[in-house]
Each structure stands twice: as C-alpha cells, then as structure tokens.
C-alpha cells in the first residue's frame, strides 16, 4: 500500500503552485501595487493552496477512461447515476489529502511565522462550505464536459479549454483584486473567481463580500446542475457501449 500513500502525498505536493506564485509576488514587491501586505498575501496563497487541495476535480479523465475501457456499462445498469461514484471518489480522496495538506501548512508556518493566524469558527465553517461549493461547481463543469464522451472519444481535450481560464481567472496564480479593471468588470459574472479567489479570501480574512460570493456560487450550481442533467440524458441515448 506504500505506493498509494506516496501517490496521495505527491498529488498534495503537486498543488503547491500558490507557493511559487507567492514567492514571485513577494520577491518582486508586486503586492505594493494592490495594497496587500506581505502577511495577507502569504495567507491568501496558503488558503488558495488549501482550497485547491479540496476542490480539485478529475472526473473527466476518470469518466473518459472508464468509458473507453467499457467500464461505464455495468455502472449504467445500476439504479444510481455513475457520477455519484466519481463524486464519492473525489470526497474520499479529499479526506486522505487532509493530513498531507496540514503537514505542508505546518512547514509553511515554520518559514512564515508572521503569517500564523486562527480564523474564527464562523469564518472557518463558511470557508468549508464555500470550498465545497467551489468543488461542486468544478465537478459539475467537468461532468458536463465528461458527458461529451458520448459524442467524442476525447472529451479531456475539450477540458483543456476549460482548464486555461480556470488557471488564470480563478485566483490560483494571482488574487483577482490584482487584475486590470476591465477584466474585473466582467470576471465576477463568470464562475471562475468563485473557485479559488472567493473561498481563499474568505478563509484568509481578506476583505470580501461573503453573502454575494456564496450567492453566486449557489447560482452557478443551480445553473450547471440542470445543464448536466440534460446533457447526461441526451448523451446516454447516444451511448454505444464501446469497448464492452
């Protein structure tokens, strides 16, 4: 079982992009231009790391593989939508990631002792809810793309198109507040800032519109869920049970 533990640890470590970004920001004093202190910026990127750890989604790859290998067929004749399985798999892996994420946070605080803070219980709970919503939005977005497997064999290639805006607009590489004004004028109408930036700002204690952010997350869930149901129902009619 050692290899599985190492795999989970490596997955956790592979999500350390926010720490690289923090390094770039602080070494170049970029935070001064957006009036965020070093401490708040450190906390933001640590929280971005945590949010990313517990909201990362890979359902499109799992579904594509299962669909090409003919594994979806037995799932389809069970009285449970196969996406529940993937959903449960994601939640299970998030739980196993927690200890590794905490170890990384521990080392982060050793080197950034001034960034240590304890969020109040209410904020912590809201952040957990918001991170779950972020995960759910990403899960729905990727599930919609995954359903394209019913029409094309390479839905993961289409997912790459989704990955680019997620990477640049979610707040993983930079807080959304640092974006140019013309980007900020439309970005909040998209789901992307609610994936990392909003939950990370909430947890780190940065100024943010809590009710507005949570409402937008819920709105996106309500928009994406019926879309997923529709594309699922149309897609299963096209299913050819390839590979089985």
């Amino acid at each position: 079982m050692l290899e599985y533990r190492v795999e989970i640890a490596l997955w956790a470590i592979s999500g350390i992009i926010p720490f690289f970004m923090l390094n770039i920001w602080t070494n170049n004093n970029l935070n001064e231009s957006i009036n965020i202190s070093d401490v708040l910026l450190s906390r933001y990127f640590l929280c971005a790391f945590f949010v990313r750890q517990f909201s990362v989604v890979w359902v499109v790859f799992s579904f594509e593989e299962d669909s090409l290998m003919g594994k979806v067929s037995p799932y389809l004749i069970q009285p449970l939508n196969p996406f529940f399985r993937y959903f449960a798999q994601h939640l299970a892996e998030q739980i196993t990631r927690l200890p590794f994420a905490l170890i990384i946070a521990f080392f982060f605080f050793i080197f950034n002792q001034e960034s240590i803070w304890i969020p109040n219980l209410g904020i912590l709970l809201l952040s957990i809810v918001s991170t779950f919503f972020s995960f759910f939005i990403q899960f729905l977005m990727q599930s919609i793309v995954a359903c394209l497997c019913f029409w094309t064999e390479k839905a993961s290639s289409i997912e790459r198109l989704l990955f680019i805006p997620t990477l640049f607009l979610s707040g993983l590489l930079a807080p959304v507040v640092s974006f140019p004004e013309y980007v900020k004028s439309w970005i909040y109408f998209t789901p992307f800032p609610y994936l990392i930036d909003f939950p990370a700002n909430l947890l780190s204690g940065n100024e943010t519109n809590i009710s507005g952010g949570l409402s937008m997350q819920i709105l996106w869930i309500f928009l994406l869920f019926p879309l997923f149901k529709k594309i699922w129902s149309e897609g299963t009619k096209k299913y050819t049970a390839m590979g089985s």
């Binding site: 067929s73 389809l76 004749i77 009285p79 009619k237 299913y239 050819t240 049970a241």
Partner: protein, 331 residues
C-alpha cells in the same frame, strides 16, 4: 401459463461508422471531410422469452448478439421497433427495472481493483437499497454457492481470473435479479471454472426461476444451459427454437466405427449396402441415419463377427458452425 418476460417486436439498430483511408493523405482528408455511413447492425428482429427460460444467443463475431443483449438491458437505445422487458421500456432505465436485471460481461469488471471484493459487494448492496443484515445474508448464500468464501477478503488485484469472475457474478447478483443478461461469462476461464459457473447458473435458475439470456462462443455453455437458442446472422434471426431440434436437423446421421474380428468380415460389411465413410484393414466407419440406428445395429450384430463398436456424435461446434455462416435454415 408462463408469461412472456421479454417481448421484442421489429427491433433494429443502426450505428454511424466513420471510415478512413490509410496514410497521411487519408488522415488529412479524414480531418477535413469525415466520411461516415450508417450501418444497420440489427435488422427488424422479433422474439419473445418466457419467465424462467434460459436462452442462448448464437452468432459469429459481429453478428449482433451482444448488441441485442445491450438493448434488452437498456444500455443502448434502439433505432426502431419496441422492446418490453418485465413490462418496462429498458432504455428508460427506471429504478424498478434496473433492480430487476443484471448484465455480466466477461472480463469487464465492476469490482474495485484495490479493495477486497466484500467492499464492492457492500457498495452494490447500498446501491440496491439492501440493509446490512440482508446484504450479509445474501453474500453468505451466494459465496457458498460460488465457493468463494475465503476470497472475499483478498484485494481483487490478487485474485485469479476464475476467482475474479465468480466475485463479479456475486456482485452482479447481490440484488437477486429476475433477469440475467450474460455476455460470454466464461470467457478466459479454465475448464473447471467454466463447469462450476455453469453449475451455479443452473442452480440459480432452478432456485429463483430467473430468466437467463446468454451469449457464448463456448458450445458447452450453450448445450449445458440452454434448451432454446436464437441464432443471429448479420443482424437477422436465422433460427429460433429448441437446441435439440436444431442439432437433429443439422446432423441427421451418426458415425459408427466398427472393429471386425477379421478383414474378410470388414470387406463383407463394406459391400453390405451401408454408407461407408472409410475403411482400414478390419476397421470400418459407417454413416447411419439417426432414425435407423437401432435396426442397422441389430443387422450388423446378427450377421457379422464384431470385436468392438463406437457411436460418434458429430462435434457440436461443427454442427452449430453451419448455422452461423448461413442466413436461412429451414427447420
């Protein structure tokens, strides 16, 4: 009167298939102007299956038998015609319908690879709304029937193919379905494992009166399990009826090898009026029609000095093979 549990009327299924010429030119052409054509895999077939029947679907590779099973269990959408299984339209995949059926495809596994099978069984039990007590009872019963009690706690990846297949079967039967769709269930199994699986299926059918639809390229599966067969040839049904009748019709003669005490007797027998297949010294092989076997043997035993005789059935694969390559069989 036994009711029809499966009713298929004028069923057809077409697939869009794309084709590409070889080489770079073909690839570029395919990229800009993809050529697809609609291929009718199943052509206007109709049949009924009664509750408790075990029916074998026979056909060459690509004949369409697996496609029929996939449509019967609701996995794929029919292009034309109607299917009623247990009173449901399968492709709508209603919960009550799905709780009544199962599909087992040889070597396609639903067990969780890194965990012992018992974990997958409990997961399936939850999916089918079985409480823990009932699930435990059924796992015990089925694992005893399948003789896999010890393997339940070993990770799936460490099980042999036969043990895995039995575990697959248990996972697929935990909800005690009334209709089983089995697509080559003995594929890749050794002779003993095949025999055990067949024994289990017969026992399951006897105990639960479950209907079983089966495809297999192993004739032993068909002859041991199915009284009725449906032969599919290029998407059409070429024969639907009793297996016995098919075999009698397709092989009306038996071969009888007779060992005579002397070469003279063998020569006498050769010229007696029977159809001779071949003769070597004092051994002679005759071809005798099924309906005159008894009288012919009486004549031979009364008139010739016989040392030994053997009655050979023609190989079943050879007989069935005839049906698979011919469209219409007048039975």
């Amino acid at each position: 009167m036994v009711q029809n549990i499966i009713d298929v009327r004028n069923l057809s299924k077409s697939f869009d298939i794309s084709s590409k010429e070889p080489g770079l030119k073909g690839t570029i052409k395919h990229f800009f102007r993809r050529q697809t054509k609609s291929l009718k895999i199943i052509k206007d077939i109709s049949f009924e299956i009664k509750e408790g029947e075990i029916v074998g679907f026979l056909g060459a590779n690509g004949a369409g038998k697996t496609t029929i099973l996939k449509m019967l269990c609701g996995l794929i959408y029919p292009s034309e015609g109607s299917i009623l299984v247990s009173g449901y339209l399968p492709f709508r995949r209603k919960e009550n319908f799905l709780k009544n059926i199962t599909l087992i495809m040889g070597q396609k596994q639903q067990l969780i690879w890194d965990l012992p099978p018992i974990e997958s069984f409990y997961l399936n039990a939850s999916i089918y709304d079985l409480d823990k007590f009932e699930a435990k009872k059924r796992i015990k019963k089925l694992s005893e029937m399948l003789e896999i009690d010890e393997e339940l706690f070993i990770p799936v990846r460490k099980l042999s193919l036969g043990q895995r297949m039995k575990s697959e079967l248990l996972a697929a039967l935990i909800h005690e379905p009334n209709i089983l769709f089995l697509d080559e269930p003995t594929l890749g199994l050794d002779i003993n494992a095949q025999r055990n699986l067949r024994k289990f299926l017969l026992k399951y059918n006897k105990e639960t009166n479950a209907t079983i639809c089966l495809t297999s390229h192993y004739m032993k599966d068909i002859t041991s399990l199915c009284k009725r067969v449906i032969c599919v040839h290029e998407g059409e049904i070429s024969y639907d009826g009793k297996l016995d009748l098919l075999l009698k019709k397709l092989s009306p003669v038996k071969e009888i090898l007779i060992v005579c005490r002397s070469e003279e007797d063998a020569i006498k027998l050769e010229n007696y009026g029977f159809t001779v297949k071949n003769k070597t010294k004092n051994e002679i092989t005759l071809k005798i029609e099924n309906n005159s076997i008894t009288s012919s043997l009486k004549t031979i035993l009364n008139n010739f000095d016989i040392e030994d005789l053997f009655i050979n059935e023609p190989p079943i694969d050879e007989v069935i093979g005839k049906v698979l390559i011919k469209k219409d069989y007048d039975i």
